[in-house]
Symmetry: C2
Subunit: 416 residues, 2 copies
């Protein structure tokens, strides 16, 4: 398999896509400089797939987009930040109006437009502001780097860093590109599509295989991050495939599908890690690697339990190598394992420090531990020292962030 | 059923018990004034029952006490704070030594002594300090109020408030007393016995019915609180019944059992609420009541999901009536319900404010909401407006606390 290569351009990198973001004033109090409505559009209808929140309380745009994505065909996605359009007066009517406005201006059928919203729950969406912004939004569509940047900026809420990446890989002799934008900072937990994300590709791939690839990629990326254990009402990840890369259409399993899926996983993981790293108030990215497990699902549940633990998260914030909390979080993961075989190491670019061997504490240099934990990117390496089941994968990596004063501050005062 | 009456004395209130707490220096750095070893002892062997942590990583004293409690008979419980004696060198040997020291000084069989530890995980217990303190601990045993107070103080870690209550109720014409001490502030989550607690009673009750009563009581009290979603390696709740109240021994279901069980539930709920209220860094006690549900387990899962949500907890800290987060947390509880029938009200002694009706936001007075949420004790009242299943109980109440800067501070720097 040829390696992937990171490129510029985000969602406009693949052939056949345009994007834009504008200020509509969705949230009355937001400054003119805050872009809040985005559009990603293809030149023609695309094969499409999407995953949505598993929350029982689903926002109106989630229900609408779910219905439309079920056809496997979309041409555009319109998104707003500043209001979730969930549990709000006229929520479904406004979600439909938002899609209709984009469809009318683009001159396409409303069924080809996905709709996503993110922001506060329970307040009526200022649909007038969105509708008034649509001509400018669509008039300004383009396929320069800045257009993807504007779309990525327009979906940010408490995000402090833009999430926009693209990569390319050769598939059946042609260069295939995949690009994505995403937002997500709070209400992030590993339970299906914990974010808004729009991904584009020019890969020629059937609807069915696109859907398979997206589900696999989301499982190994967005579903392996946790910021605060809350899954939102609005999580959506949509992929549009223009088919213009010129590769032989991928219609089944095989090397081409594997190459595409691996590239899509790589892109999604990059977006997911960017989200964990930009978790609300976060000062550290935490990567938890569980290895030498009987199988991958077990490694995954244990790694997720560790990155989701408030005590582990507070400990990393405090740069305190209090590894007992790691064992404790492993212990309530729901998985069984032998605590007396567990090894734990903390690692960062400042060094590596083994703190637990066979379930017992090791004497370690507290000063060095502090130095290791002072870095932004911290790895918690756990080995279960179990025999791997035949044919199973013994390993999983999940991502999270620390719990800080600022998380509490941001979420104690979100609406003002 | 005669009402219960709150009385003084904690664990020494029931007939036949003595208690004490002393400073042993378990944690080298703790001041002389910090009591850290406690003992609760009966004058003769008692019927006993216990529940323990569900964490797969169990501390040595948990494993030891689990084995001993399985016999249904105990006479004393020795407890220390400052060290969890979990995942630590010589942990099981030291747990046995701790029990042996108490047994020898009391002149009873080691099998009659329960052992509990709480504090940091992974460091070796200073067993010498504990052993040296045992003569003073047992020499000073007594049945005055101060003795229960000393025992309650000795098991506190990050607790800021002593948890010690007692009550009495008439059963078969005799006054039966139940008293308890508990500790718990962080690592508190509704997953069985989330704490250390020793409960005493002079009720005459068979081992089997005592065990039944404890399991019922724990389910409706300690298992319905959450501070941070972490369940610890050391959670233990033990009850000793001296049988000296003179009531007709309770050996089966019936009015007497119901009266005892109701009283035990009441005491456990009081201890549990004290723990939630004293959650690490907490500035608010949050009570979530879910009503008009199809059944109690459903109401319970939804209430637990709400009190465990970091976003709900941060919102209460910020006194922000951002009720959308309540619906969001309900939605990922794993239960199905119709969001469009949900009503939400915030209540405190400063007033009551309906914020959501049939899943849609109500216009409300933001100033009044702020005033309501400024009180220490906040209630989140949720109605699902469902039809209750025949014979089912439509209601559940769970307790938690807000998430504050101080929670992060306490847990970022626990070991120093």
């Amino acid at each position: 398999m040829k390696p992937v290569k990171w490129i510029d351009g985000g969602v406009i990198a693949p052939v056949g896509f345009r994007a834009n973001g504008v200020h509509a004033g969705v949230k009355g109090s937001s400054p003119e400089s805050k872009l809040d409505v985005a559009l990603v559009a293809a030149d023609k209808p695309c094969n499409a797939a999407a995953v949505f929140t598993q929350n029982a309380v689903k926002a109106a745009p989630v229900k609408l987009s779910q219905e439309r994505a079920a056809n496997g065909e979309l041409q555009a996605v319109i998104l707003n930040s500043g209001n979730a359009n969930a549990c709000a007066p006229n929520d479904m009517a406004n979600a439909v109006k938002m899609g209709d406005a984009a469809a009318a201006e683009l001159g396409i059928a409303p069924e080809l437009v996905g709709v996503c919203s993110t922001g506060i729950i329970g307040q009526e969406l200022n649909i007038g502001a969105v509708e008034r912004a649509v001509p400018q939004l669509i008039g300004g569509l383009g396929s320069a780097k800045e257009h993807s940047v504007r779309a990525a900026d327009a979906i940010m809420t408490t995000d402090t860093v833009r999430k926009e990446f693209a990569l390319e890989r050769e598939i059946s002799g042609r260069i295939v590109k995949i690009g994505g934008i995403a937002k997500g900072s709070g209400m992030i937990h590993p339970n299906m599509g914990t974010l808004l994300s729009v991904i584009t590709t020019d890969c020629a791939i059937s609807r069915e295989m696109l859907d398979n690839a997206l589900r696999l990629a989301v499982r190994e990326s967005f579903n392996r991050i946790s910021v605060d254990g809350d899954t939102s009402t609005n999580d959506t990840c949509v992929i549009l495939a223009s088919g213009l890369a010129g590769n032989v259409e991928i219609t089944g399993a095989g090397d081409d599908f594997n190459a595409f899926d691996d590239a899509l996983c790589t892109l999604c993981a990059k977006l997911a890690i960017a989200m964990a790293s930009d978790g609300e108030g976060a000062t550290h990215l935490i990567t938890c690697v569980v290895s030498e497990a009987a199988n991958e699902p077990k490694a995954e549940r244990i790694a997720k339990s560790v990155i989701a633990s408030s005590l582990v998260k507070s400990m990393i914030f405090g740069r305190d190598a209090n590894w007992g909390r790691v064992l404790c979080a492993m212990g309530y993961s729901g998985e069984t394992f032998d605590p007396e075989r567990v090894d734990v190491t903390f690692r960062s670019k400042a060094g590596e420090i083994a703190v637990c061997k066979n379930g017992r504490g090791l004497a370690f240099d507290e000063e060095l531990a502090k130095t290791v934990l002072t870095e932004h990117d911290i790895e918690i390496l756990i080995s279960l020292n179990e025999e791997t089941e035949p044919g199973a994968f013994p390993w999983c990596m999940c991502w999270g962030c620390d719990l800080t004063y600022d998380y509490v501050k941001i979420n104690g005062d979100y609406r003002t």
